[in-house]
Symmetry: C2
Subunit: 145 residues, 2 copies
């Protein structure tokens, strides 16, 4: 989780949304990433998607044995990607500032561990408070801030 | 749908997986794309994701009024992206060669129209038959071809 938090902080330093993710296979990080909506004008590069992309094309057997770490509860898009690739273990930094599709993932047999790590909560609380419109855009909500 | 099929054929000409997608808002195509797994070594650029990315950062109100056209039934990742952004209308070229998360989308109130267009079916039948291992990789399956 520390590596995912490092990615989130890297995103923050770049002026982006502070959400980070890493994918671990057999004790080794095979992909790391952070949200790049601001940096690359991207609608799809959430932290988890960026980590999946940076892990590159992997066989199904690798995803099946991998654990995805993310600083924030995964949204519908990232949860869908987890299901597509059959990732079975997801460790979530926190789900207090945003609750993603954890019920769907659990229902499909994905094992979830929610840490509610205060560092992850603080990162998002401060960011959302300072950038409510940008945050709502990232989760597909109207900018009613 | 013709524009989505054109995208699929463009992908095929590039040596890629022939799935295309366009996003239409108020009668105008605002994003178009095709699967780029082969071309860019991408794990996340399915046709629908590429179209979303090429549409750029849009406000929630645009997604809510948009229709996504895709030549093939959307997988879990692309369905998740549709749900994240609140796209309410999806037109699907075919779901015979691959059935994605249509039940989940319908359950969440997304209106689906499945054309089972013979051009889309033929594109995928020929591609899957010639490239079973690559196709399985794209949908997160073991290469048991």
């Amino acid at each position: 989780m520390q590596a995912a938090i490092d990615e989130a902080n890297k995103g923050l330093d770049e002026g982006g949304i502070p959400i980070g993710s890493v994918i671990v296979h057999k004790g080794r990080i095979i992909g790391r990433g952070h949200n790049r909506r601001v940096q690359q004008g991207s609608a799809i590069l959430h932290g988890e998607m960026d980590a999946l992309e940076n892990a590159g094309r992997q066989p199904a057997s690798v995803y099946a044995e991998a654990t995805l770490y993310t600083t924030l509860s995964p949204c519908a898009m990232c949860s869908g990607a987890i299901l597509l690739y059959g990732i079975r273990q997801v460790v979530i930094g926190e789900n207090r500032t945003f609750l993603g599709e954890e019920a769907l993932l659990a229902n499909r047999g994905v094992q979830l561990q929610v840490l509610n790590d205060h560092r992850c909560v603080t990162l998002m609380e401060q960011f959302i408070s300072a950038n409510p419109v940008l945050w709502n855009e990232d989760i597909g909500e109207e900018p009613q801030a």
